[in-house]
């Protein structure tokens, strides 16, 4: 066997340092299996992503099988039972998937020129509420119990101000917590005065009709949240991972850039590793979404 020179060894070590130590390389699969997540119309999504799938098949010289999941639990399940090699996930869901299956991110999404976004606390513009502290004893709508921008990061706004320490504290701080099931439902609950506030992603605002936008006001904003990411199954072979990452990354420039509109309309991608999501992971442990690490872990 041909020996590697020291430079190659260094490069290989550097490459390995970016991936989990428990990685088990496998042979390239006969087919790359992609799971897309659909929030509204799975049938339409199946049609919409065809151009991307065709492009990936051409670029990777590999057959692609794809399907659509309706929630992140199904995506993680698909990673675990190897029915998916690649998927698209929010930061908290990714961290949960990472802990349970060893899946890891290869690309982060860029929107409006940024690879981060924020959560915000919205109240009705008529409301007397000015600060997060004013929400003690009031009602609030979040998006989902497992949501980065629609629950965990909004909670963190209250924690940062010493108003709560845990999720249980939040139940006592607020009169009632609702999980509205979507950003639009949550912000519209503020517009319609069903709740006193909503803790949701920054872009929820633009889901409102123009005439509704003056009905809400922002009282606080979270720290930056790393954007959604493209995630691969732990066992997927490195050659395929590299090719997929390079192919999607290449969409940032050049004639195939219009493909991005089929990939959740991102502006582009940046290359990421798990370390970009360590802060999310830490918060997820603090809020009980992930197991607390034992000393020495």
């Amino acid at each position: 066997m041909k020996q590697m020179n020291p430079a190659h060894l260094l490069l290989a070590a550097a490459a390995l340092a970016t991936i989990p130590a428990t990685r088990v390389w496998a042979d390239p699969p006969a087919k790359l299996k992609i799971v897309f997540i659909a929030y509204e119309n799975p049938d339409q999504l199946v049609e919409d992503v065809k151009p991307v799938v065709n492009h990936l098949e051409d670029a990777l010289q590999m057959a692609i099988k794809y399907f659509v999941a309706s929630d992140y639990a199904a995506v993680v399940e698909a990673f675990r039972n190897s029915t998916a090699d690649l998927g698209f996930m929010g930061p908290l869901q990714y961290c949960m998937a990472h802990e349970q299956t060893g899946a890891y991110p290869i690309l982060g999404e860029v929107y409006n020129g940024k690879s981060t976004y924020t959560s915000r606390i919205f109240v009705h513009s008529d409301s007397a509420i000015k600060t997060p502290a004013d929400l003690r004893g009031k009602t609030i709508a979040f998006v989902d119990p497992i949501s980065s921008s629609g629950y965990m990061y909004p909670l963190d706004i209250f924690k940062d101000r010493g108003l709560i320490r845990t999720r249980d504290d939040a139940d006592k701080f607020f009169k009632r917590i609702y999980f509205a099931g979507g950003d639009e439902q949550a912000i519209r609950a503020v517009v319609n005065k069903f709740v006193d506030a909503a803790g949701i992603g920054q872009y929820a605002y633009s889901l409102l009709k123009l005439e509704e936008r003056d009905s809400v006001r922002i009282i606080s904003e979270s720290r930056p949240i790393p954007s959604h990411c493209v995630v691969v199954r732990k066992e997927l072979d490195k050659t395929t991972v590299d090719k997929v990452r390079d192919t999607l990354y290449a969409l940032n420039e050049g004639p195939n850039r219009q493909m991005l509109k089929y990939l959740y309309n991102v502006d582009g991608y940046i290359k990421v590793t798990h370390s970009d999501y360590e802060r999310v992971e830490q918060l997820a442990r603090e809020y009980g979404f992930l197991k607390k690490q034992k000393a020495g872990d």
Binding site: E40, D144, G150, I177, A189, H228, K261, Y264, G288
Partner: protein, 643 residues
């Protein structure tokens, strides 16, 4: 692809804009585009069908299509009820679709109203049945240890069939039930991710709130639902104890409509501006420009929809994407003599027409597709009062609109000499086509195309002709003549003919060749098409940017430049219309700001106009002066940033 199809945080990424008072961000926003509402297909059809059933005439074929969509979705959930619904509404509608196809007499007015009501009631009942069924399925799933996510999501979407009317006629129930929906989505818990973060469902709460919503839906829209007589057909919750019978539930435009203007904007050429005239001293034109952009010169429903002349004739040019189901037979067309815009002027016919281009209108009299108005003034007054339900307009207002429209110029065309002949800038094919254009055809009574489209007269003859595109009232009727349209600018005004039946200029040439037996060969058709394409061309037909908030803001200042003139003429009503128009236009356009740091400036400018309206109503002219002056100062201070 997915911009109107996905939700949750992922969907949020799709929208470019954000925010607001205390947090400043820079955004990339394009134009003033209102996206369509995202309805469940059955709800979309139900709401559109409600709109259609209130029209006169009712487009029964379209109603039938929407009932088919409702049937299709109902069949997967409540198959027996779906079949019954389908059989009933098909039987009810059949006489009308047959009549529309010319296969029988159209039933009388009473039958039309009765059938519309019956179809509406049956559709409402089955939508209520669907909603109940999905909620019951979600509750059953929860009881059995599932999460009922899809059923609950579908039920919430089906609620949109009724929510608008409930919100505006039973606000107490809307709030109570809005909270009930939040309770439901919370009580269902979460299955977490592979058990991590799992939250067990609260079966008791879920059952209770499901019951509350179903109870309301059953009571108001259930199996015994009947709509109150003599009212517009709409799902009003009349059985609710908190229903407000006096509430004004305004009609909404139906799903599928599009009244957004085209982007990029067409380039408008105002003659006085092209000649370098200072716009600050053309007060009457400023009044007209304001009125052309104003919904407040019209009556309802134009005011509520914020629709103006400019909606259809964007910057004086046809808006090719304008579409309202039931009123438009295709994009870029509308029936303006119906019971929706101006009930008093309904002609009882569905006569949707291609929206005309207004470039060069001072040269194109008479007006109206059949040339029934000899003067622009008559045409404008009729449009305000009898097409769009406005009050008798002030003479100064009409003078202003006419003055403004008389400024609309054709696009310059370097291929045309002053006498309308082609010059060396035209292609060889176009010049061969020019000869054909001027060639008399025996089958056209020895007339040529140029006989009516006189090149030296801007390609019109100011006459009306029957060329065979209009279907008359009866075989030998004489109601088929149409005004000769100009050919200038037609490259940008597809489709063609009064009803837009020809999608391209080539289709127009082929239509003449076939219907007037001109005997032209393929190459001649191509040459004549090339000629029309060249004559209809122009320099810079569209603006070269999609960002034009700065231009809009300058235009609003131009509107306000008429203030002193209106004050001098003692026209407080026109002053109010001016202030209302500016305020609403600023509020409509402010989301186009590329830097939301300046939203407060936009808000203040709009408020100043509100305050001017109030002062004007009180007759406090000094205060109006002050508000106008403050507006001008604030705008001048921020003009470079309001873009």
């Amino acid at each position: 692809m997915m911009s109107n199809k996905i939700s949750c945080s992922r969907r949020l990424h799709l929208c470019a804009a954000c925010l607001v008072t205390c947090i400043v961000v820079t955004v990339s926003v394009q134009a003033h585009i209102i996206p369509p509402e995202n309805f469940h297909p059955a709800v979309e059809s139900y709401r559109r069908m409600n709109f259609l059933l209130n029209l006169n005439p009712i487009p029964w074929h379209d109603v039938l299509k929407d009932t088919a969509v409702i049937t299709k979705h109902a069949a997967t959930i409540v198959p027996a009820a779906a079949k019954e619904f389908h059989d009933q509404v098909s039987r009810l509608i059949e006489p009308f679709t047959k009549a529309a196809d010319g296969n029988r007499e159209m039933p009388d007015t009473a039958a039309r109203r009765q059938t519309a009501r019956a179809v509406f009631e049956r559709s409402t009942r089955i939508m209520a049945r669907l909603l109940k069924s999905r909620l019951e399925a979600a509750a059953a799933a929860i009881r059995e240890g599932g999460y009922g996510a899809e059923c609950l999501k579908t039920a919430r979407k089906l609620w949109a069939a009724f929510e608008y009317e409930i919100q505006h006629s039973d606000s107490a129930a809307h709030t109570r039930l809005g909270i009930a929906w939040l309770e439901l989505s919370t009580a269902r818990g979460s299955r977490g991710i592979m058990k991590a973060g799992e939250i067990p469902a609260r079966v008791d709460l879920f059952t209770a709130f499901t019951g509350e919503i179903i109870g309301y839906v059953d009571a108001n829209f259930g199996d015994h639902y009947q709509t109150p007589g003599n009212r517009r057909l709409a799902p009003l919750p009349t059985k609710s104890p908190t229903f407000d019978a006096a509430a004004n539930v305004f009609v909404k435009l139906p799903p599928g409509h599009n009244i957004n203007k085209q982007v990029p904007r067409p380039r408008q050429i105002l003659n006085m501006a092209a000649r370098g005239v200072d716009e600050g001293e053309t007060a009457l034109i400023a009044v007209g420009d304001m009125a052309f952009d104003s919904a407040y010169i019209f009556g309802e429903p134009m005011r509520s929809f914020q629709m103006s002349c400019n909606t259809c004739h964007n910057k004086s040019i046809t808006n090719p994407q304008f579409f309202i189901p039931g009123l438009s037979h295709q994009k870029g067309a509308v029936d303006i003599s119906n019971n929706f815009f101006a009930p008093h002027a309904n002609n009882g016919l569905f006569d949707s027409l291609d929206i005309p281009d207004l470039r060069g209108i001072k040269f194109t009299a008479p007006y109206g597709r059949n040339g029934r108005f000899l003067s622009l003034r008559e045409f404008v007054r009729n449009g305000i009062m009898n097409e769009f339900n406005g009050p008798e307009p002030d003479p100064v207002l009409v003078d202003g609109i006419v003055a403004y429209m008389n400024e609309f110029d054709f696009l310059p065309n370097p291929a045309l000499d002053r006498d309308g002949t082609l010059n060396d800038n035209a292609s060889a094919a176009a010049r061969r086509g020019e000869k054909l254009f001027r060639k008399p055809f025996i089958t056209m009574d020895r007339m040529s195309c140029a006989t009516c489209h006189i090149p030296s007269a801007n390609f019109i003859d100011h006459k009306r002709h029957d060329i065979g595109t209009v279907e008359g009232a009866e075989p030998f009727s004489r109601d088929r003549a149409l005004d000769t349209p100009t050919l200038l600018g037609i490259k940008y005004t597809a489709p063609y003919f009064h009803d837009g039946r020809a999608p391209t200029l080539q289709a127009v040439v082929e239509w003449f060749n076939d219907n007037h037996c001109l005997g032209m060969k393929r190459r001649e058709i191509d040459d004549l098409t090339a000629y029309l394409d060249t004559v209809g061309d122009g320099v810079d037909a569209y603006e070269d940017t999609s960002y034009y908030l700065d231009a809009e803001m300058e235009e609003f200042s131009f509107f306000l430049s008429a203030y002193e003139f209106l004050k001098e003429k003692d026209k407080p009503e026109l002053m109010t219309i001016t202030f209302e128009t500016i305020a609403s236009e600023i509020r409509n356009h402010k989301w186009e700001l590329q830097d939301y740091q300046f939203l407060p400036v936009m808000n203040r400018l709009a408020e100043l106009m509100d305050e001017a309206i109030e002062a004007n109503k009180q007759g406090n002219r000094a205060l109006v002066d002050q508000k106008v002056e403050t507006y001008r100062t604030l705008f001048a201070e921020n003009v470079d940033d309001l873009k």
